[in-house]
């Protein structure tokens, strides 16, 4: 279709300032937090209401143009890239908090609301629980698409446990309300299916969330270890002992070094092999027992030191290093790449040994900062962007780590999603029949596949033959 006509038609729906189409404007939207891949969109639409989203999607349906929903663009798997030269439908301007209903412990927000803003505005001892590391920037709509977690999801759950209703505009323009303020509604749980579907089923235009009371008290500990192995064994044993910390995060030597040499130094011992950041929350009466358990387990695994934050200031300091760890590691070189795999907790020691081995073999620096309590690894691969061969080695190293996670009984992604980045690896985890069932379900929402094409499903297999299995060892490179 004629580009000029497309732009003027879109402007007619959403207004002059809400369509971006000049090459320099499109540049920002060529990639998201996953910086390795790029795709040029045809145009960006920034609707400001459900009605506008619906009109835009109806128009794109009539004209047969593919599109992709986008929130804040912080996603780490390339999920918001406009493949097939599609139109980006960005919800960044839909950022009103529509209702805070404290008696019912609910809030209703537009998808562009930044995660952190919701808890800040609710206040009064109530919060929205999921807190992904990017919470200052990422949007609730994006969280719904990715079923985001965060350090505290270990105890408090994921987006799917805290979002009770979504208003969805289907790819053909119909607006549907799935779920609502109550916990259950008659019929299939389409709400639950939409959460984590990576923007492949439509555009979410309203989100009803559960609010929770902020925990009565919080205790934060730092445990310091001389070997990675003893730190990971501590993680397994804490969970096995029946203690469920609200967060259980690990950083290894590479990360500690990077953090301590950066402006956000948190006071982690420079020579430690690993540190665990352990947070307990709940009624203060429970802390004695839990603290005793945690201390005993840390000591059993030869923790060099267990430091307890005395006040909020010390607690914030301990967390500062964790929250800025990725940035600090990133500053070590000109480029970095974050992997995201999950394994059963007890397999942590061997997987971390494998990561170290991979780093050596591919001559890469890999730091580990991750949600240890969930078994969710985030190897950070830093490399020199000017080294022509490095991206290839990074991809291969990442692929090897991912395959090892699946082989250990884990998963390809704990929170970043499959998106574009990992679609070719899906056959490692799912059979042709598994993927065919998922494709059938997607087709009920998105019959012609125009909504976020090219994501989640492997390209090696078209709709008709979602059966081909890629064998481990012959992994395709993710371009």
């Amino acid at each position: 279709m004629d580009h000029t006509k497309l732009i003027s038609d879109l402007i007619r729906v959403v207004g002059q300032g809400a369509v971006l189409y000049r090459p320099e404007e499109l540049l920002v939207y060529e990639a998201d937090g996953h910086t390795i891949d790029k795709a040029a969109p045809r145009a960006i639409v920034l609707p400001s209401s459900t009605e506008q989203v619906s009109q835009v999607l109806r128009y794109l349906h009539q004209t047969g143009i593919p599109f992709v929903p986008r929130g804040a663009g912080t996603g780490l798997s390339g999920g918001s890239l406009a493949l097939e030269n599609g139109v980006v439908v960005c919800t960044a301007r839909m950022r009103r908090i529509l209702e805070v209903d404290i008696p019912n412990l609910r809030a209703v927000v537009e998808p562009g609301v930044a995660n952190i803003r919701l808890s800040q505005e609710v206040g009064h001892g109530y919060a929205y629980a999921p807190d992904p590391s990017s919470q200052a920037a990422c949007s609730i709509g994006g969280n719904v698409a990715e079923n985001s977690g965060g350090p505290h999801c270990l105890k408090h759950g994921f987006t799917t446990n805290h979002v009770l209703g979504v208003e969805l505009v289907l790819p053909e323009g119909e607006v549907v309300m799935l779920g609502g303020k109550a916990e259950e509604y008659p019929g299939l749980d389409l709400r639950g299916f939409v959460i984590g579907s990576e923007g492949t089923l439509g555009v979410v235009t309203k989100v009803m969330v559960r609010l929770v009371r902020v925990p009565e008290a919080v205790k934060t500990l730092l445990a310091v270890f001389d070997t990675v192995d003893s730190a990971t064994r501590t993680v397994s044993d804490i969970i096995a002992a029946g203690v469920i910390p609200s967060a259980l995060e690990m950083m290894d030597h590479v990360v500690i070094q990077a953090v301590e040499r950066s402006p956000v130094a948190a006071g982690y011992p420079l020579d430690a092999a690993a540190v665990l950041l352990i947070e307990l929350d709940g009624p203060p009466e429970g802390f004695d027992w839990e603290m005793a358990q945690v201390r005993e387990i840390c000591q059993r695994h030869q923790a060099r030191e267990v430091r307890v934050a005395k006040d909020d200031k010390e607690r914030a300091l301990l967390w500062r290093g964790r929250k800025h760890a990725i940035g600090a590691v990133g500053a070590l070189a000109t480029a970095f790449y974050t992997q995201d795999g999950v394994i059963p907790r007890k397999r942590l020691p061997e997987l971390l040994a494998l990561v170290a081995d991979v780093a050596k073999r591919y001559q890469l620096t890999i730091g580990n900062v991750f949600h240890a309590g969930d078994g969710n690894l985030h190897p950070l691969i830093v490399y020199d962007a000017n080294d022509g061969d490095a991206p290839r080695r990074v991809q291969q190293a990442g692929g090897e780590i991912m395959a090892a996670c699946v082989a250990a009984g884990g998963s390809l992604s704990g929170e970043h999603g499959i998106g574009l980045e990992k679609r070719e690896y899906m056959p490692l985890l799912f059979s042709g029949a598994d993927l065919a069932a998922m494709a059938q379900a997607r087709a009920a929402f998105n019959p012609d596949g125009r909504c976020n094409p090219g994501k989640v499903f492997p390209t090696s297999t078209g709709c008709g033959e979602v059966g081909a299995i890629t064998k481990p060892g012959v992994l395709p490179a993710v371009a």
Partner: protein
């Protein structure tokens, strides 16, 4: 269907699962659903046999309903057709339990009670407590999305199932999720199957997130002369620092008393549990309770909250409303009971907005009562479904009520997954 056909079918089923594990004709009568007796019942002994049965059903276009323990089999619209019941009690193996990972995998036909016994060896439990755990199976609980009181703290089946394997209409197995507590790879297919009453496929295997057993548990009961005072107490507890595992309001008839009860279950470390039970009692005193005390026979009261009528009433309705809608629905239920001369037992899982109303009376009166009660729940921003009702009542009152959002998508899902309409046809909301 002619008798000859039935016995022919029984023979073919017998070839798959052996004659010993097949029932037909009169013997199939106990497996009637809403009065509709199936031609035959088959008890597959392996997932392979189950898939074979589904292939046979597809060839012959036989309408199939899965059957777990039968505890929730009355949940659903009147079946459009029913030829074959596939009963799962023989698929009852524990496949995996990783205590240090807090996950466990079992086949769908295992009873909840047996699953809990396995987990209990490692001092863990599945925090789901629907009624009749000795008979209720894991698969049935998921397919009917049954829950109990503990949902306040731990969530619904949909929140605790992290991997699921399903046999689809043609007998094809497909899996989703992974055996790890955190995972976003692929679509969350389990969300579609939970609560689907077998309309998209038959669940064969599930991996659950499990929990350490609380070190201690205590329950406390406060009695109030008025519902309004009970409501106000319960709301205050939900918004307080107290963290009950369950918080219930019981109607006077349910409690077997003149008063409305607010029942709290506390679980966790012994110090927390003791402190919170005490604070609950103190609060109740300040809120004007007639009496408030710890109850030693807590389990009995908890059972009353799960099954207010003890399972005797003809009808069991469940409303799901926002918190502030709970008390109004309870009040309307009492009024309607009096108006329609029906006996009402009610209980609410207060913090979860779930109101159970059991009712006995003449069928036309029950129908009137349910329609009015549904109107009240919908008016509160929620809905009302019939978990159990006689056929006569189901003819008067739709089991599900109106599906407010996404019916078009649900219909397309049904078409895509079951184009021949042989899986639990008609039972799901919207006539799916």
């Amino acid at each position: 269907m002619a008798v000859a056909t039935t016995s022919q079918l029984a023979q073919r089923l017998g070839a798959i699962v052996s004659a010993r594990h097949t029932l037909a004709d009169e013997a199939a009568r106990p497996y009637a659903i809403d009065g509709l007796v199936p031609q035959a019942v088959a008890f597959p002994g392996s997932v392979g046999e189950l898939c074979e049965l589904l292939r046979l059903a597809q060839q012959d276009k036989l309408a199939v309903c899965p059957w777990g323990g039968g505890t929730e089999i009355s949940f659903g619209n009147l079946p459009e057709r029913l030829d074959l019941v596939i009963a799962l009690p023989r698929l009852n193996q524990l496949l995996d339990h990783q205590p240090e990972d807090l996950i466990a995998t079992a086949q769908a036909g295992m009873t909840l009670h047996t699953f809990q016994a396995h987990l209990g060896v490692h001092n863990q439990f599945l925090p789901l407590d629907p009624p009749c755990p000795e008979r209720a199976t894991l698969g049935g609980m998921a397919a009917a999305s049954s829950s109990g009181l503990l949902r306040l703290r731990y969530g619904l089946p949909r929140d605790l199932i992290i991997r699921m394997v399903v046999a689809g209409a043609g007998g094809t197995l497909s899996a989703s999720g992974a055996k790890v507590v955190k995972n976003v790879a692929g679509f969350d297919m389990a969300k579609l199957y939970v609560g689907s009453l077998g309309a998209l496929g038959i669940i064969t295997e599930m991996t659950f997130r499990v929990r350490p057993r609380p070190l201690a548990r205590r329950s406390a009961l406060a009695r109030f002369s008025q519902l309004e005072a009970a409501r106000s107490m319960a709301l205050a507890v939900i918004h307080s620092e107290l963290l009950p595992e369950a918080l219930e309001i019981l109607s006077p008839r349910t409690l077997g008393n003149e008063a409305w009860g607010v029942l709290a279950l506390f679980g966790g470390g012994p110090e927390i549990v003791a402190a919170h039970a005490k604070r609950f009692i103190d609060r109740a005193g300040a809120a004007g309770a007639q009496a408030a005390e710890e109850v030693s026979a807590g389990e009995l009261l908890l059972e009353q909250a799960r099954r207010p009528d003890g399972g005797v009433a003809a009808v069991l309705a469940q409303a799901s409303v926002p918190l502030t809608g709970v008390a109004p629905v309870l009040a309307v239920a009492e009024q309607l009971g009096a108006q329609q001369s029906c006996t009402i037992w009610s209980a609410a899982h207060f913090g979860s907005g779930a109101v159970l109303v059991a009712a006995d009376g003449p069928e036309p009166a029950l129908g009137q009562l349910l329609l009015a009660l549904r109107q009240s729940a919908v008016g509160q921003g929620g809905s009302l479904v019939l978990r159990r009702a006689p056929e006569g009542v189901k003819r008067q009152v739709d089991v599900w009520g109106e599906v407010t959002g996404g019916l078009t998508v649900m219909r397309r899902l049904k078409e895509n997954f079951d184009p021949q309409r042989i899986l639990s046809p008609g039972r799901l909301a919207g006539g799916l």
